[in-house]
């Protein structure tokens, strides 16, 4: 059901505009509306959005600092401080925040940069240490000379032939003042160490670079010393780095303890103010007053008015503006459904929201969807499994809103499933019947065994289709009446009459109804056909065929259910046919599990489809505006 909306106008002194906007923002109930018609009057102008850019910049910095600082502020503490600071003007908040940024930014960034550098050094040292450990066995074969440089090359083993090409080149570059030793490090890598006079350094390196050889340059401070010595030095340096990083972490921790809450509070407050400022161009101002126009759900009207009254007394006035019916079409749509219907709003998101004066079909969806689902699945065992699955998933994903909604739908739908399971005498297919637990109910002269009573079920499905489509057409009539669309109204009424006539005619032909009904149905057809032609023209008549097709489409309620029963029976048969008891049980359980998963997916999809394609097409227009109140977005509703 859609909540009744009221159009309101808030008028107040301009000097208080910031507080007025803030009160409305904190209330979070008004759906703002542009007020261009005031602007025709030169006295009024739209408000300036002001310092949004400056606030964005400061926010960016605050976010940056908060990201570097470890830990998170406590929500309760943020709330408390928020309450204390809320009264401050945007300018004061902004200057406070700037001061905080000034105080923290360079310090925090320095620490972060130092930490980053240390991390980089540590990674590099680890890489060197790894290579050094690998080439340590070669060291004994290497002369250490003052004024000579050591370079280590790592080459994949399959390309080791390249060493034979490098050696003569190095010889040429260094005038034979070099040493070149190669050895296999492991299964994949060959290392080569070259020692050469420092004066050829540049040429050697550029030559190696041109050959695309992976060269590991030993850092300056570890050059010209034994590898063992270098390794122990590296180890020592790593320890120092760890200590230094610990120190930095401690410093960041102290800063975080002191500032995290403040940062969070100012970030939140400034975000709110930014949002408020950005909405300012939807407000209107004269020299001394401001005006805010918007839509508000009727049930929030008093609460918001009281909040303004408490804060400003009579200085700020909130009045209801009378709206002509054609304007009401533009009011935003706010679903205000009882708890049992609420989950089904999930399916309403598949189409654009209804226009305000349209009838909201979500309560009908909540009524028909579980019935369709129940008839299709119709099994006590499956119903219980779906109920259990729904409850378990709801508990596991408490924070995921769509999962909560979907699982609520499953839980609600599991009850009709159990009910129809009782009617059809199904407990995991025919397992219940096998063990003598239950039998299909004999009702209206029919034993509702789904495999045998196929034709009665088909008739039931089509009958449900007729009812559903007729409900849809009736809503279409109401919508057309609300909009004073005479032609639409005639079309829907004509369609209902013609389809009813055709159904009566068919029923008379198959001798379900006495033969005099032929005349009645002919009269109905003759009476309603002109209405249909008047309302919908030739297309209206062609539409009759599509409506009949829509009704036949409800046969799927029986057909998908049938497929599900047969699969359940196959599971039982196959399980029973296997000689080994355990294997039989495992196979039966697996097949039933597969069937339950299919049973949750396919019937839901087809029930939704029956609504969106067959049902909605009879009345739904959509294209409404969703109610989006001006305020901080609520995480949970």
């Amino acid at each position: 059901m859609l909540q009744k909306m009221k159009n309101i106008l808030v008028v107040g002194p301009k000097k208080d505009y910031q507080q007025i906007v803030d009160v409305l923002y904190q209330e979070g109930t008004v759906h703002l509306q542009d007020i261009p018609f005031f602007l025709d009057d030169p006295v009024f102008s739209p408000m300036e959005t002001g310092k949004t850019e400056e606030i964005s910049n400061v926010l960016l910095k605050l976010h940056g600092i908060a990201r570097i600082l470890p830990g998170k502020a406590v929500e309760a503490e943020i709330e408390r401080r928020n309450g204390e600071l809320r009264e401050k003007t945007t300018d004061v908040l902004l200057s406070d925040a700037k001061e905080m940024v000034h105080l923290l930014e360079s310090k925090v960034r320095d620490l972060a940069t130092r930490k980053g550098d240390l991390e980089l050094t540590r990674t590099t040292l680890e890489r060197y240490a790894k290579v050094m450990e690998k080439i340590q066995p070669l060291e004994s074969r290497l002369p250490i000379l003052e004024g000579f440089e050591v370079s280590v090359l790592l080459i994949q083993r399959e390309y080791r032939d390249v060493l034979d090409l490098i050696r003569p080149q190095l010889k040429a570059i260094t005038n034979n003042q070099f040493e070149f030793i190669a050895a296999d490090l492991d299964d994949t890598t060959t290392a080569a160490i070259t020692v050469f006079n420092k004066k050829y350094s540049q040429e050697v390196h550029s030559f190696l670079f041109s050959q695309n050889v992976n060269e590991v340059r030993v850092p300056e401070e570890y050059a010209n010393m034994h590898l063992e010595e270098a390794l122990s030095l590296i180890e020592k340096r790593k320890k120092d780095i760890a200590k230094e990083m610990e120190e930095i972490d401690r410093e960041l921790g102290t800063l975080s303890e002191k500032w995290q809450t403040e940062l969070a509070v100012y970030t939140r407050l400034l975000e709110d103010r930014l949002e408020e400022l950005r909405s300012l161009n939807m407000f209107c101002q004269s020299d001394h007053t401001i005006m805010i126009k918007g839509w508000i759900p009727k049930k929030f009207l008093k609460k918001t008015r009281d909040a303004l009254m408490e804060k400003f007394g009579n200085r700020v006035v909130m009045t209801e503006v009378p709206v002509p019916p054609e304007e009401m079409e533009k009011a935003p749509t706010y679903y205000d459904n009882p708890r049992i219907v609420k989950p089904f709003e999930f399916f309403m998101k598949l189409v654009s929201p209804p226009k305000y004066i349209e009838i909201d079909p979500s309560p009908l969806l909540a009524l028909f969807f579980p019935i369709f689902f129940g008839i299709i699945v119709g099994d006590i065992g499956y119903g219980l499994c779906i109920l259990g699955f729904g409850l378990a998933m709801k508990k596991k994903f408490q924070k995921v809103e769509w999962m909560q909604q979907l699982m609520n739908i499953m839980i609600i739908s599991s009850f009709p499933t159990i009910f129809f399971g009782f009617l059809f005498g199904e407990f995991f297919g025919d397992f219940g019947e096998h063990i003598g637990l239950l039998h299909p109910v004999h009702f209206l002269g029919i034993t509702w065994n789904r495999v045998e009573a196929m034709i009665p079920l088909l008739v039931l499905a089509i009958a449900i289709g007729v009812i559903h489509i007729f409900v849809g057409l009736s809503i279409g009539i109401l919508n057309a009446y609300a909009r004073h669309q005479k032609k639409h109204l005639c079309e829907k009424a004509g369609m209902m009459g013609v389809v009813l006539g055709i159904i009566l005619l068919i029923l008379t032909f198959v001798k379900v109804l006495p033969s005099f009904m032929m005349i009645v149905s002919a009269i109905i057809l003759v009476a309603f056909l002109p209405l249909l032609v008047y309302g919908g023209g030739t297309m209206g008549v062609i539409e009759v065929m599509s409506t009949i097709g829509n009704i036949l489409s409800y046969a799927r309620i029986m057909a998908i259910g049938m497929a599900s029963v047969i699969l359940a029976m196959v599971a039982n048969e196959l399980g029973g046919a296997i000689g080994v008891v355990v294997a039989g049980i495992v196979i039966a359980v697996l097949l039933h599990a597969l069937n339950i998963i299919l049973a949750m997916f396919s019937p839901s999809l087809h029930s939704v489809r029956l609504h969106i394609v067959e049902f909605y097409s009879k009345f739904y227009e959509g294209g409404g505006t969703e109610y989006r109140p001006f305020g901080r977005e609520k995480k949970t509703d």
């Binding site: 998101k349 598949l350 189409v351 196929m454 034709i455 088909l458 036949l552 489409s553 046969a555 799927r556 029986m558 057909a559 998908i560 049938m562 497929a563 999809l605 087809h606 939704v608 489809r609 969106i612 394609v613």
Partner: protein
């Protein structure tokens, strides 16, 4: 004892529906996958669109069952 014509008729009714559905769903599926990649928010409608051609196979199934049950 029914002749071979009845089960064959039922099989044709079902198979034709299934082939029709498969053909339509494959085309909707590939187009839908492309759409979802570009605009993930459309996934709800695409799933419903994907289910639309299933009417064919369901009606095929109904006709096949009716042939088997009703044709003596």
């Amino acid at each position: 004892m029914a002749g071979w014509e009845i089960p064959l008729g039922a099989a044709i009714a079902f198979a034709a529906g299934a082939i029709g559905t498969a053909w339509a769903q494959s085309r909707i599926g590939s187009a839908g996958a492309g759409t979802i990649a570009e605009r993930p928010e459309t996934s709800g409608s695409i799933i419903v669109l994907e289910a639309i051609p299933e009417t064919l196979v369901i009606l095929g199934f109904v006709v096949a069952s009716m042939i088997i049950i009703m044709v003596e």
